[in-house]
Symmetry: C2
Subunit: 413 residues, 2 copies
């Protein structure tokens, strides 16, 4: 028997009773940031619930915080218990009257960053994406670099510029250099997206204790969609030999709603077989990824459907790799998959790939064509997945609109 919710319309949408993602919201009436869980088009106020006796006493303080970190740090037993209680509350009609006062329509809420980001790591885990970039940048050599199939390549990004979906993206300025031209300075002319999936660490570790890939669900709380905005011209000039820096650090957008891993249980799917077999510390007893169907809309036109299920490196492998040197984890660590690209031309998760380096414009309809982002453009990344009960859930969208570059630096005389 499928569980249903008494909240109007919830059962037929992407935020049904089998999803229940967590976020942080405020309203005009009550501007305090507080934790809520989404059901249909409503947000259930968990601070309000925690003011009563609904949650166990040791759990309540976490829902008086302004971010999910305290709750995430409590670990799987608390996550499961709260999810179980919320499922019961929102499905059993006997709770409707007393709970309805704690519901706020999403349309009336302002959404904030759901958790305080500790460290932000970005991987490069799609074989198709890494291959496309290799072909574009190094047409005369093997597209994949020698290390790529041995380890999930990754790097640290700027945690302080991770912003919630909807935050306007000011076009970054910076240095760039075309072949045989002098160094130039100005607004990026090759502003791009990267459609990614991010994983949020709940339970941290001590320095010196690597995480086994089989312990993935003991540490990771949930998933969010990520748009790793990228200024390709800035990146191309700066990135040797220490990697991407200002080409990425101006902004990284994440969804408002953190989908608990338990809500993705129905989306688990076998990950690609790896050849060569990686080293022991990257081997999983049960190897799986998540079969998320992503969508990239550019000014309303869907331009790509990247398939997350085909990623070469799994979220568990990324976690194991990130810690194998003894690096500790903290609650709020965010690690993203890197651009999700599939084998098909309409499955690429960046415009660099979709337009093949800017050579093949994308048709947005009504005579509009694009290679890279123009001021005023809006990109929305979304994803759906099979819910735990067989229905479809939808991860929180990531959207952003490009604002023109501004010159706010008073230069020395």
């Amino acid at each position: 028997m499928t569980t249903t919710s008494w909240v109007d319309g919830a059962d037929s949408g992407p935020y049904g009773i089998d999803h229940l993602p967590y976020g942080v919201f405020s309203t005009a009436k009550d501007p305090a940031m507080r934790i809520g869980v989404r059901i249909g088009d409503q947000i259930l106020d968990l601070r309000g619930l925690a003011s009563g006796t609904f949650f166990l006493p040791w759990i309540r303080p976490a829902f008086h915080e302004h971010a999910l970190n305290g709750f995430m740090a409590m670990g799987p037993p608390a996550w499961r218990l709260v999810r179980h209680q919320l499922t019961e509350l929102l499905s059993d009609r006997r709770h409707q009257d007393q709970s309805a006062t704690l519901l706020t329509p999403v349309a009336k809420a302002r959404m904030h960053l759901p958790f305080t980001v500790a460290d932000y790591v970005d991987f490069y885990a799609s074989e198709e994406h890494a291959t496309n970039l290799g072909r574009l940048f190094r047409p005369d050599s093997e597209p994949l670099l020698p290390n790529w199939k041995h380890l999930p390549v990754g790097y640290h990004g700027r945690a302080g510029t991770v912003v919630p979906s909807g935050t306007p993206i000011v076009r970054p300025r910076g240095q760039r250099k075309s072949k045989d031209a002098p160094v130039e300075f100005g607004p990026s002319a090759r502003l791009d997206i990267e459609a990614e999936v991010g994983f949020v660490v709940g339970v941290g570790t001590e320095l010196g204790t690597p995480v086994n890939p089989d312990d993935f669900t003991e540490h990771v709380f949930g998933a969010v969609l990520v748009n790793d905005w990228s200024a390709r011209d800035i990146q191309a000039w700066e990135y040797v030999p220490l990697g991407p820096f200002l080409g990425k650090s101006f902004a990284t957008s994440i969804g408002h709603w953190v989908t608990p891993l338990d809500a993705l249980a129905g989306a688990k799917a076998a990950a690609p077989v790896q050849d060569p077999v990686p080293l022991d510390y990257l081997l999983e007893s049960e190897r799986y990824g998540y079969d998320l169907q992503m969508s990239v809309r550019w000014n309303g036109t869907e331009v790509s459907r990247p398939p997350f299920g085909g990623m070469y490196w799994t979220p568990a492998q990324m976690l194991a790799h990130m810690t194998v040197n003894g690096a500790s984890l903290r609650t709020g660590d965010l690690y993203a998959s890197g651009t999700v690209s599939g084998p098909g031309p309409a499955q690429r998760g960046s415009f660099l790939e979709l337009t093949w380096g800017g050579k093949d414009p994308v048709d947005l309809g009504e005579g509009e064509a694009r290679t890279f982002l123009e001021d005023g453009d809006t990109v929305i990344i979304s994803a759906t997945a099979r819910g735990a009960e067989g229905g479809e859930i939808g991860l929180g969208d990531v959207r952003g609109t490009i604002l023109p570059a501004v010159n706010l630096v008073p230069l020395p005389a």
Copy 2:
């Protein structure tokens, strides 16, 4: 007339009245972490002072925190005022009796991370270091890459593994690959140091507002010494194309004491003339670095004296570059210079350079020679500088001892 302190022995050492660096300490008797200022071999308890009427009411709460972030966020007026008050308190003998009860000997204190690290960025600002690495890794091409003289190359490191001086460093394990050999896994065989100087941001910025290099002292609170431990074999295999990751992220050590920029005023020195002239956003009205004489001791033997004054890119330029794309700053952001190396062979800030890629062992006396770090080795990085009144101050040492790698990962059956 030179100001002197009534604290015994303070005037003749590196922590005289013209230094007054801030740190966070606790004691066996009172295990609460609290902020102190160092004078000679003593720590003055600022939480204790803030419990009375010594500081202005709006400043007091900052000294009840467990880290410097609150105080640093208050900006230059508060920094100057507190420094002025502390100078008076510790120099005027009339305050001796009442203040002496707030002094704790450094030998009895446990030191903690002085501030909560927000983002950690590492630059690559020494021309000699970048040239040495170019010669070692790319012997057949120009040692400096084309971008190096146009921008301060940098990348993000792992903020969560920044640790206070004295924290044991567990030798990291990871993947490595020698030419024509298969991929191997094991403890790093080329464990190295990088002697650096780090700058700590006090006053943050909003997203989209680049910082002018002339506003450096409006944002940066002070300086700490940094040891950016580096596993060269792990780094060499992983770093293309996204830069260093696990080769660095296992640990970065910083000194216990944050030296306020005001205490370094006497060490300001003209920075090298830049050719080509960089872009406008990197131009300073008054171009200067800090003339710090660094020292690297390996098991007690001084093996190098890197000169920080010769760095090609200044701390103000690094700050301007890091934000020119609109990236915001947060209180607690730490950015380090990259390895400090001078032109002389005994001025190199990494063992990779000192031993020229491991080919020329360093003599540590008594028949001991080294190329890279062995288990049990201890490295101490220290630095002295001209104080504001002409004497010599010494920045807080960064020390670390290497522990053997441990296998704590229960591998899947």
